[in-house]
Symmetry: C2
Subunit: 162 residues, 2 copies
Amino acid sequence: MTSPSESAPLDGAELETWSALATVLEWLPPVLDLQLEDGWDLTHFEFGILYALSTAEGRSLPMSTLAGYANSTLSRLSRAVVRLEKRDWVRRSTDPGDRRVTIAGLTDSGAEVVASAAPAHAALVRRLVFDSLSAEQAMTLREISRNIAAAISDEGGWRPGR
Amino acid sequence: MTSPSESAPLDGAELETWSALATVLEWLPPVLDLQLEDGWDLTHFEFGILYALSTAEGRSLPMSTLAGYANSTLSRLSRAVVRLEKRDWVRRSTDPGDRRVTIAGLTDSGAEVVASAAPAHAALVRRLVFDSLSAEQAMTLREISRNIAAAISDEGGWRPGR
DNA sequence: CCGCATCACTTGACTGAGCAAGTTTTACCT
DNA sequence: AGGTAAAACTTGCTCAGTCAAGTGATGCGG
């Protein structure tokens, strides 16, 4: 009964739901990316890094902590930070306390970038997501998302960046 | 009033909703991919191509039509089909009626792959999405997804593959 | 029926992500 | 202390995706 091959195929309503969700899954991230790339030549991922740093104590974080916030591998993060460093938005230094860890810090120009990109990004999220939903739907969406995220965490123990 | 810089930043509840949704947006596609890659050494995108062909009249479609179904650029599709052809799961032929169009057709072994992967894939979708939701939540999710998808279509007129 | 725009791809150059292997520094065990 | 394991990145290799340019084939205006 628990064998995967025995679970019924998705029925009509489920298929429609899945298809609609799949559409969002496929389109939403690219549109969000597009704004940042057009306006600031930034990946959504790179923006996430800058944003995380901007909210951090002292505008700087160890790479591993940052990788956690950005749901990323250290490898991916490392390459992204190299790119950001080239633009002088981030600077790296090794932690004097533990010379294995390198601390990524936001520069002033990096902070300016975040300050100018973040409101536009939030506005786009509002337009695409919250403006299309009733307050009740938004609350339900939060529940739904949490449930699915929990299921993902359980399933196979998969986690990004680990 | 309609200037983007004037829209209020996301409030607490919205931020939580967005953060939960962003998690799903980031994690769900990779987990879905993982199964196909581990089990069949297939990208979700490649699977989509095979699946679309399997449901098509004569198990074959012109590249441009297929690109529409797969929400993809012709360029991306072309490369993917090259890969699938190397594994003898798809074969290309030029349409005798219009020698510009090339028709991608599913081979028998390709059909076998779809037949074996599709149920497992559907089962995973069920476990991750529908098993975590009440029937009512699932219905709401369909509404929500449609609304967001509609907002995306309106916004900036962006469309994948075009 | 000829020339040129257009269509339907394909391909070359480049970029970002993943995996695995390598480096340096620290922690632990005895 | 001394040696080994582990942590915290970084980097080489390879691959998929994008963008722009290239290649035939077709349609169409005069």
